[in-house]
Amino acid sequence: MEIDPFIFRLSIFILSIFIGYFVVWSVTPSLHTPLMSVTNAISSVIIVGAIIASFSSIDGNSISFSNILGFIAVTLAAINIFGGFLVTQRMLQMYKKKEKKNK
């Protein structure tokens, strides 16, 4: 009997939850805010769905309802991607070790 591809995706999903579990427990508590902003940025990978929606076509060239939703979703995801990664970068740059001598 052939295995439904859904089962493969489910396996990936469940194993990823476990990876997430162990990786996130190893995150130092002082970086929990950057963790939230970076997870927020990567969840915007939903942009791949928005891209398909932006280019979906029923009858060639005319712009459909689905395309418009796609463009809006691309905009929202882009705000998140740029905003999320840049603000994370900004925060991480602030974390410094003790300096040996004061300025």
């Binding site: 859904f6 999903f13 990823s16 939850i17 997430g20 996130v24 427990w25 190893s26 508590p29 002082s30 970086l31 929990h32 805010t33 950057p34 963790l35 939230m36 970076v38 997870t39 927020n40 990567i42 969840s43 990978v45 939903i46 791949v48 769905g49 928005a50 891209i51 929606a53 932006s54 280019f55 076509s57 060639g60 712009i63 459909s64 309802f65 689905s66 395309n67 939703l69 979703a73 691309v74 905009t75 929202l76 995801a77 882009a78 705000i79 998140n80 991607i81 905003g83 999320g84 990664f85 840049l86 603000v87 994370t88 900004r90 925060m91 991480l92 602030m94 974390y95 410094k96 300096e99």
Partner: protein, 466 residues
């Protein structure tokens, strides 16, 4: 691009995202981690563009949409003050939620482009996944908007409750599940939109009864939801990168919620059902506020105490963020270090309005991260410390949590501030903290209350340290 090749590349995207989170295990590796994350995202976007049939008119709109989003995102990222980080994250979550809803609606109306069948005759598995994705996305969207408004002060931070609230939520919850099941037999547009509306409504209803200081739990929970929504859409689109990312984000948010709940010694359900310190506890306060002597002092006394101390621990809380006192605090610590006072910072897990909020603010003020300690690492040190400087924190220092089983905060892990030789408590008034419990610490012999704005007081102390 062939489907197999793009699947493998999406898997690589997923791995890059795992490395991005892994990098956060220490500040040194974190910047590299963020770089992995950015690379993964660029890869994902490029693969998706190469996998669809591009036609020119839509490409232009796509580029415009991407640029507008990118510019807005970039401006926000550079302009936002660090104290506004909780509401920024809440706002960003709402965008992920809404994007998930839009993608699902688009897939519902043109399933053929997504390879899911034809309109109103979508594969059963896909319609279930789509229903789940759209529902969680909608809940994330409205829930995050309420969280954003509460954090930004556009809406009262106090819990909003009304009779029958939990029943209404339960009914809506059952309705949502029934609608998803019903979609399997009848994929009509009415059912689909009813599902979206019910989900939007419940997102709004579950966040309004949750109060301001419980926001760390709420933000983490919404973070988790945005992940599950992404995973739901990932199943619909049969996209590995989305499934992996959704699972990572989902479990990350769930772990953070758990850590936050543990920091308050409350069950997740208790936080979600809302209303802390609303009814039973308010009577408690009245009994306790009989006139008890409090010692209060000024900046000069505080400066004198700290100058003559050999070690000082600074306990920060949300009040420090509100007063923007982190820079003044750092200045004070610099002065103290010059006269050889050992200074460290103590942070309670639920201090502030989101996980790690205080750490970011201290980092912004150039406090080295190896001087900042978590509750478990520093709690034993209070007994050997001369002065504790409590700035903007309250409930997390209340010894009642250890002694009075009747108190609503009993059992909550607290910082053992009272064990210090003397405690300096900066506060504007005697009012109780969020939990509505009087802080016993105020009346201790070794406590000196400094009634002032946190920033103003710290600046005054700096002057007196010269």
């Amino acid at each position: 691009m062939s489907a197999n090749l793009s699947s493998v590349l999406f898997l690589i995207t997923g791995i890059l995202f795992i490395l991005a989170l892994r990098g956060l295990s220490s500040p040194e590796t974190s910047r590299m981690g963020n770089f992995f994350g950015i690379t993964g995202m660029i890869l994902a976007i490029v693969i998706s563009i190469l996998s669809v049939d591009i036609f020119f008119s839509n490409l232009i709109y796509f580029i415009i949409a991407l640029s507008i989003g990118g510019i807005i995102g970039g401006i926000i990222a550079f302009k936002i003050p660090m104290t506004a980080m909780p509401q920024l994250v809440a706002g960003f979550h709402s965008l992920v939620g809404l994007a998930a809803v839009l993608v699902a609606v688009s897939a519902y109306y043109s399933p053929d482009s997504f390879g899911l069948g034809i309109f109103q005759n979508i594969k059963t598995a896909s319609i279930i996944e789509m229903g789940l994705g759209v529902s969680i996305g909608a809940i994330t969207f409205t829930g995050s908007i309420i969280a954003f408004m509460k954090l930004q002060g556009l809406m009262s931070g106090s819990p909003i409750t009304f009779p029958g609230q939990h029943y209404l939520n339960a009914v809506l919850g059952i309705l949502i599940i029934s609608l998803i099941c019903y979609l399997i037999i009848n994929q009509s547009t009415q059912i689909f939109w009813m599902l979206i509306i019910a989900s939007l409504l419940i997102g709004f209803l579950i966040i309004i009864p949750i109060g301001g200081a419980d926001m760390p739990v709420v933000i983490s929970m919404l973070n988790s939801y945005s992940g599950w929504a992404a995973a739901g859409i990932g199943f619909t689109l049969e996209n590995t990168a989305l499934i992996i990312t959704g699972a990572l984000v989902g479990s990350s948010g769930a772990i953070l919620s758990y850590i936050m709940c543990k920091g308050m010694n409350r069950s997740f359900l208790n936080v979600i059902l809302g209303g802390f310190g609303t009814d039973s506890t308010s009577s408690n306060i009245k009994e306790k506020t009989e006139q008890k002597p409090v010692k209060s002092g000024n900046a000069e006394d505080a400066a004198f105490l700290m100058k003559n101390a050999s070690s000082v621990i600074i306990v920060t809380g949300y009040g420090m963020a509100v007063a923007q006192a982190q820079h003044a605090l750092r200045e004070m610590v610099d002065k103290l270090k010059k006269i050889d006072v050992k200074v460290s910072y103590a942070i309670h897990p639920v201090a502030g309005r989101m996980p790690g909020h205080m750490n970011v603010l201290l980092a912004e003020a150039n406090v080295p991260y190896d001087e900042v300690f978590e509750l478990d690492d520093i709690n034993n040190d209070f007994a050997n410390t001369d002065v504790a400087y409590v700035i903007g924190a309250n409930d997390v220092t209340n010894p009642v949590a250890k002694t009075d089983p009747k108190s609503p905060i009993y059992g909550m892990p607290v910082l053992d501030v009272e064990k210090c030789k003397s405690v300096l408590f900066v506060k504007r008034s005697m009012s109780p903290g969020y939990a509505g419990v009087d802080n016993e610490l105020f009346y201790r012999d070794n406590t000196l209350m400094l009634f002032a704005d946190a920033k103003k007081m710290t600046e005054d102390i700096v002057k007196h340290l010269d």
